[in-house]
Structure formats: structure tokens, C-alpha cells
Subunit: 499 residues, 2 copies
């Protein structure tokens, strides 16, 4: 066994390497932000080469034999719990990268680039046939990828762990099934309700006015402009580090709630990133836990704050002023929570039915990867499930199974994290209220500091130190559970729709 | 000797490596652009680490032993002239990088970071004493750097070649001496002239109006917005690739000519970058020749176009409209070319006296590096030379030897390239007019295509294929010479100032 000082020296070299990996990855993040927000269209060929060079360097650093040797040595050494967590996280990334042959990574990347225009055209032409071979190829490549990582496990499970490494596919499946079973009747009741929620919007709203409004929303919620910025992007996202976490949003002329919701959602992501410990930047202790937890932060702010009555009690005057309307807080609240009847598109869905969109995608992609569903049958299965879970049947595949970009990108296994994030947001919200007290009053007064403090203390500051469920335990004193979300959704929508 | 197919295979591997190097460097350029234009202030610590990680990776790739072996093999092989040029350029960068010990690179980088706040404070406090040790350290480090590269040559020559590798220090020194000898009497005559040039500006001008105006200037000159963008930065610069070459500018409320000049200058740089061959991106054949040539392109557009009477014949209506004034083309022309009496600051200098600022800096930095001047004597020597060359003596070091950031950055040997660029601009301008014909009429008509075409054909498309003087030969049929610049300056200023 190594002496303490040998271990210390190894750990330092190891950590330098890990940090360099992380910095290169974050540099790649800056290139991507620029590409989506700032880059002129003609820049694509050069940017593709720059990004790919950084990916290759990142991959080389991650699969470095020396890193493997350090990991072996450190796993046998006497480390403190934080060091152990760092070793655990890096080991996981290293192993997965080492196991996947470079040429497979290349083939997936190429297939994904080639798939994009095919998907775009198929969607524009509403022609699933055109896309079927492309999807087939991606499913096969991803199956191959999963087998490279672990040939003895369910390939969908392995892929899911790419996005949520620790919660386990069983938990995900249980939660999604529970939501399907309990929410479908609620969705039915809402559909049968005679209540029509208020819609205070008419005509179109200037992009400049909407921009000023969402800026005010960020101000109100406490976004730190010294460590962030707001821009527009076709598909809103947030990216960055604990020193610089940026938000993007988009504007629909006739629907200002879309920009407000997107902005607050991305603000939630950025707030998580900004809450990570600065001194641990470049290591897993300064990095976010994976996608479910990230999504819990965006959903907490988007739904539990931004779609709450207290928030609109606070923010209505500001919104009225910028939009030139005269709506009541209740009207904004209702508009923020309307369940549309013609509910075909996931990204336009409300907080309740959203999860049925996810359950459907989860079931289909799982069965595709497991070989239990043929690609050619996707459109029909999709439409059947839409009818079963949401009571609507798409007329076209463009509004059906061609609507999302995820599979085209090769992201099979990603969708469940959206719902797991919402579920966790409700669980955190419950415990926040227990610990902090009258959160509604704080929101009404615009006093968000105690909320930020609670989230930072219980979630953000831990970085990736804990595995997902341990982090949930640390924050809430209990395991991950969908119970709070189900109670919350039931109470909120039965009240709104009087059903 | 290797067979043709062995050589081809080596060359391909070599070129892949070279491209990767280049892509990483350009990724670093994106990070720097973002830092200066977009990044919130709090982002600095993370960005420093990201940029430094890319620099380290770049340095590792450049000093790679394998690269040295490929170079050895290719230098013995039968290559075509383009391949030979690529090998020549990469060899040069590789050799310099290999010769300089990593710890010296590190020490210079650290010294430069540490020097920045010292320089800023010394400048703010007008206290050269405070800065003297810092400058001394930088001079010593740079001398050490030059000795590492070649202990047998004049260290200033070696440093100068960092920025202009091929023109030779003797040419630079001859040109700067010739300019000093011939322009000082002209500057004296201008100073003695009774002529006062027009100044059509009064009060202040909105930043938005100035922004719209310089955008129109870029439109007018033919900037390709699909491959570029315009932003503001405290110190205007241009950066990018032949696919995406961006311009930055700045706005002074009371001096719209400053923004116009800066914008057109950076446009010139961007235009050079955009003229590099796209298919050679990532290799020296798709990369710019060094700083003198780059500066020749910015100065050509800034001075020979933007400060010309024909340009103001074309652009006056637009400028009047955006600025809400009613000046004549002649008034704009005069305002663009005024020689200020109190001519202390290089970056505010006119096209004529600018070079006296450069000569002075060149002489001082050369003597510092050669050990012929002590740091403590810099302020007095500076002020004496200001009096001799420009007829003014700074009252403070803040307006004297503390005004520029270059030495603080460790950039000793850089200044001469500014003047060499202007000199080359005049030489190119002369031959452009010989080849294309009535350039003044083209400018008056806003027909810039023939000018772009000539510059692309004769300068841009060659990338770094030729050494500097060979490129000048290729473009003009003769060696680099200051004669055209001197004739041009003499004619222009004697006419303007009737002297």
C-alpha cells in the first residue's frame, strides 16, 4: 500500500489531469453556446472542426492509460470521502469511454450529423418512411454502444445511465408507470371539466417588450448578472460554469407565457450551476449531479415558482406593464397552467400532461432498444399511446413521432430524466416548505434568498459528491419518491379545473 | 529515401496533426472573443483555466516528438511547393516551441498576468517607479526567451521575428529610420502650417446612431454578414477564420470618426481572413501571413479607402443622416485626417505622425532588449524622443511611456509591424491602382468588388504559402519598399496643410 505522501502526490497529479479534462469540456461548451447564439451561419464548417478537435482531445485525456493507473492506485489507497467521490465519478467516465471503441464513437457522431437533415426533411414532408432507416441505424448503433459498455445488461438500462447514472432504470420505470397509472385518470377528469381557464392574451407582443419582461423576471428571481447573461436561441438552453452560467430564451409573438416559462426554466438550470462550489471548479465536487437533478432545479423554478399563484401576485404588475394589458394575478396564474385540448406537442405541454408525453417516448425507445418494437411500427404505437394517455390522436407524424430531435441526435434514454426531474422538484419543494416555512409569503414579497439558500445548502453545494439517491437523502431525509409530485399535481389541477 | 506513397502517408498524418493544432488554436480564439465581447465579469477565473488548458494542449501538440520526426522525414522527401511551404511554416513554429523551456513559457505568462495590475496602477497614479521593476523583469524574461531560441543572434531580432518572421530586422530598421528621417521634417511643416482642417462635429452622438452608421459602413464596403458579425469591445480587434471573421469596434460619444476608423480598420483584418482559401483551413496555406501583412490589410482599408476623399464623396450622405449633421464630403475628409497638435497618444494619432510614435517605441524596446538602455532611463528618453520627433513633450508618464499595454503583455518586438503594415498598404495601393485602373471612381460609385478581388487574388488566397517578401514580390513584382508610403504621405499632407 502506498504511503500517505505517495497517495497525496498521486492524487494531485490525478486531479490536475481531471481538471484539464473538465476545462477542455467547458471550452467546448463555450464553442457550442457561441454556435447557437452568436455565430454567423457561414461559420459552421470551421466550428465543426474546432468542436470535434476538442472532443477528440477530451476523449484522449479521458481514456489515457495513465489516468487508469492513477485510478487503480487511488482505489487501493486511504482517501477521505470527498476524494473517494472524485475517484468514483472519474472512474465511471473513464470506464465507459475506454470500453467504447473510438470508431463506434465516430460512427455515432457521423450518423447523427447525417441524420439531422433527413429528420428535418421527413418532418417537413410529414414522411416517416423517409426517416425509418435513419432511426433504425441509430437504434442499432446505440445498441452496439450499450453492448460495448456492458454486454450482460439490458442495453436500455445502460443507455439510460448515460444521462442518469445512479437512480436505476427500475426506479425510473416504477415512477413512470406510477405516473401513467395515476395521472391518466386525472388528465381524463381535466378533459371532462367544464372549466375554461383565463387567457388574457390577444394579438401579438413585441419581442423587445417580451425581452424586457423576461429580464425583469430574472431580476426578480435573483439572477446574478455578473455571472450570467440572457440571449435568444431557437431551442432555449443554459450552459456554463459556477462563474458564468448563461440563459437563453425564445419569443413567440402571440404567447408571452412561453418566453416567461422558458426563461425561468433555464434560470433554474443556471442557478444550479451558479450554486456549485467555486473552489471545486474542474472536479466532480464542483460539477453538477446528472440530468435528473439538473432538471429538478429547472422544474422547481419553472413550475413550483413561476407557475404559482404567489409568483403572479408578485409579478402581475410588471407583466401588465411590459405587455400593455391589464390582467389579474389569477388570470396570469390560469394562463400559466392551462391544459390544452389539442395536446400533441411535448414542448408546448402543460405541467400535468407533459409526463404522458414522456411516458410514451420512454416506452417506445425502451422497446426499440430492447428489440421489442420494430421501427416501422413506431408511428402507430405512438398514435395509439397518445390516444390512450392523452385522449388525442395526431393526424400527422410531423405532429407525432417526428416531433422531437432527441433520437436523431442519438439520445435514446434521455427522455425519462425530464420526468424524474419534475418528480424530484416536487419532493424538494415539499421539504423546502417544511424547512423554510411560509414560502408562498416569501415569493409574494419577492424575497427569494431563503429559497436560493436552501437549494444551495441542500443540493447545489454538494456538486457530484453524492450518488443521486444519496443526494436526495441528504437534502430531504428520504429516498427519491413520486408521492409528492402526484399529490401536488392532483391538488393543483383538481382545484384549477374543479374536478 | 522514402517512396512516394510512404511520403504521401506521412504527409497526411502530419497534416492531420497540423490541422488539429490549428483547430485548438482557433477554439482558443473563440474563447478570447467571448471573453472580450460577451463574457460577464465574474467568468474570469473559469475562463483563465479553460484558455490555459487549451494553450497547454496546443503547446503539447506543437512540441510533440512525432511531429519533429514527420518534419525530418518530409524535409528529405520530394514535395510539391505547397507542401514544402507547409513544412517550412510548421517547422518554424515547432522549433521555436521546442527550444523554449516550458517553465520559461510559464514564467512569462505569470509575469505578464502579474504585471497587468501593476501597470494599470502605475498608469493611474502616473508613477513609473512603481512599474520599473516589472518592466525590468519582463525585459529579462524576454531576453532569456530570445536566447533560448538562438543564443548567437541579436535577441531583439529574434523577438521581432515572433511577429514578423521573414522580413528581417534590417529591413524593419532601415524602413523605420527612413521614415523618421523623411517624416520628421514633414511633421514640422504641418505643425507650422496655418491651415486648420474642418471639424464638423459638435457635442455628442448617440451610441445607437454611431452603431447604425458603422454597420452601414461595413455594408458599403462589402462585409459578408453570413461570415461575420459586429460587436463592441473596449479595445477593438478582429478574430476568426475564413468561415467566420468578426469585427469589434468602440464608440466615443464626441468623436464618431473614431468608431468609423476603428471599424474600417478591423474590417480590413476580417477581409483578409475571409479571403484565405476555405479548402486549406487548418493548414498554413489557409492561414494568414504574419502581422505586417495583416496590418497592411487593415491599414489599406482604414487609410487608403476610409480616409480618402472618394470614400467621403460616397459615404457623406449616410454619415450625415445617422449623425444628424450636414457636413460636406470635404469636411469629413479633413476631419478624418486632422493632425492634432497635442499629439501624445499613439492610438489617437493620425496616419502621418503615428509612425513617429512607433519609431520611438521601436528604438526604446530594441535598446532595452540589447542592454543599451536602462529601464530607469526610459521616461526621459521617451520624452526626449517625443520632443525630437513630434515636437511635444508629455507632462506625465501616464501620457508618455506608460500609455501602451504591449510591454506589460511581454510583447517586445511587436510595434514595428504596425508601421511595416502601413508601408506595405501604400505599396499595395499603388499596384492596385496600376492594375485595376481608376480606383477613386470605383470607390465613389461604391463598387468595391474589383478592389476585393485584387487583394484576394494577390494577397489573401496565398495564405502563408510565401515568405513575406516573396508574397510582396508575387503581389507587386518588386521587393518590400517604403517609397510609395513616403510619396503618398508627402503628397497627402502637403496638400491638406498647404505646406
Amino acid at each position: 500500500m502506498a504511503t500517505a505522501s505517495e497517495t497525496e502526490s498521486t492524487y494531485e497529479q490525478f486531479l490536475d489531469h481531471v481538471k484539464r479534462l473538465h476545462y477542455v469540456s467547458d471550452a467546448g461548451g463555450v464553442l457550442q453556446w457561441d454556435q447557437q447564439v452568436m455565430m454567423p451561419s457561414g461559420g459552421t464548417p470551421a466550428r465543426a472542426k474546432q468542436s470535434s478537435a476538442l472532443s477528440t482531445l477530451h476523449h484522449d485525456l479521458l481514456t489515457d492509460d495513465q489516468l487508469g493507473e492513477w485510478l487503480d492506485e487511488l482505489e487501493d489507497a486511504d482517501l477521505d470521502p470527498e476524494q473517494e467521490a472524485v475517484v468514483r465519478e472519474v472512474r465511471r467516465d473513464h470506464e465507459r469511454a475506454v470500453k467504447v471503441p473510438a470508431d463506434l464513437v465516430e460512427r455515432i457522431s457521423e450518423a447523427s450529423s447525417n441524420a439531422l437533415p433527413v429528420w428535418e426533411e421527413a418532418k417537413a414532408e410529414d414522411d416517416f418512411e423517409m426517416y425509418a432507416d435513419t432511426l433504425e441505424e441509430m437504434v442499432e448503433l446505440r445498441r452496439e454502444y450499450a453492448e460495448a459498455i456492458d454486454p450482460d445488461r439490458d442495453p436500455y438500462e445502460v443507455l439510460f445511465e448515460e444521462y442518469e447514472p445512479y437512480l436505476g432504470i427500475d426506479t425510473a420505470e416504477d415512477v413512470l408507470t406510477q405516473l401513467r397509472d395515476e395521472l391518466v385518470p386525472l388528465v381524463d377528469d381535466v378533459a371532462d371539466s367544464d372549466v375554461t381557464l383565463a387567457d388574457p392574451f390577444e394579438g401579438t407582443y413585441d419581442e423587445d417588450d417580451q425581452h424586457a419582461l423576461v429580464e425583469e423576471a430574472l431580476d426578480t428571481l435573483g439572477y446574478d448578472w455578473d455571472h450570467g447573461r440572457l440571449d435568444t436561441a431557437p431551442h432555449p438552453f443554459s450552459t456554463g460554469t459556477q462563474f458564468d452560467a448563461r440563459v437563453t430564451t425564445r419569443f413567440k409573438p402571440d404567447d408571452p407565457m412561453d418566453a416567461i416559462g422558458s426563461t425561468i426554466h433555464e434560470f433554474g438550470h443556471a442557478t444550479y450551476t451558479l450554486g456549485l462550489p467555486q473552489e471545486a471548479y474542474g472536479t466532480p465536487l464542483g460539477d453538477n449531479r446528472d440530468l435528473s437533478v439538473h432538471e429538478s432545479q429547472s422544474r422547481f423554478w419553472e413550475n413550483h415558482i413561476g407557475r404559482s399563484q404567489p409568483f403572479w401576485d408578485l409579478f402581475t404588475d410588471t407583466a401588465n406593464e411590459h405587455l400593455g394589458i391589464d390582467a389579474t394575478p389569477r388570470e396570469f396564474y390560469e394562463a400559466a397552467n392551462e391544459v390544452y385540448e389539442d395536446n400533441l406537442i411535448r414542448v408546448e405541454a402543460d405541467e400535468l400532461t407533459y409526463h404522458m408525453h414522456i411516458v410514451l417516448r420512454f416506452e417506445i425507445e425502451r422497446d426499440l432498444i430492447r428489440g421489442d418494437l420494430a421501427v416501422e411500427d413506431v408511428p402507430e404505437v405512438w398514435n395509439d399511446k397518445m390516444e390512450e394517455y392523452l385522449g388525442v390522436r395526431p393526424d400527422t407524424d410531423a405532429e407525432g413521432c417526428l416531433q422531437d430531435i432527441h433520437w436523431t441526435n442519438g439520445a435514446l434514454g434521455y427522455f425519462p430524466t425530464y420526468t424524474l426531474g419534475s418528480v424530484l422538484a416536487a419532493q424538494l419543494d415539499h421539504h423546502l416548505r417544511e424547512d423554510v416555512g411560509d414560502v408562498d409569503s416569501l415569493v409574494r414579497e419577492g424575497d427569494f434568498d431563503p429559497i436560493h439558500d436552501w437549494l444551495t445548502e441542500n443540493v447545489h453545494r454538494h456538486g457530484a459528491r453524492y450518488e443521486t439517491d444519496d443526494l436526495v437523502q441528504e437534502a430531504t431525509g428520504e429516498s427519491f419518491t413520486a408521492d409528492y409530485f402526484l399529490d401536488y399535481a392532483d391538488a393543483k389541477y383538481r382545484d384549477l379545473y374543479d374536478c
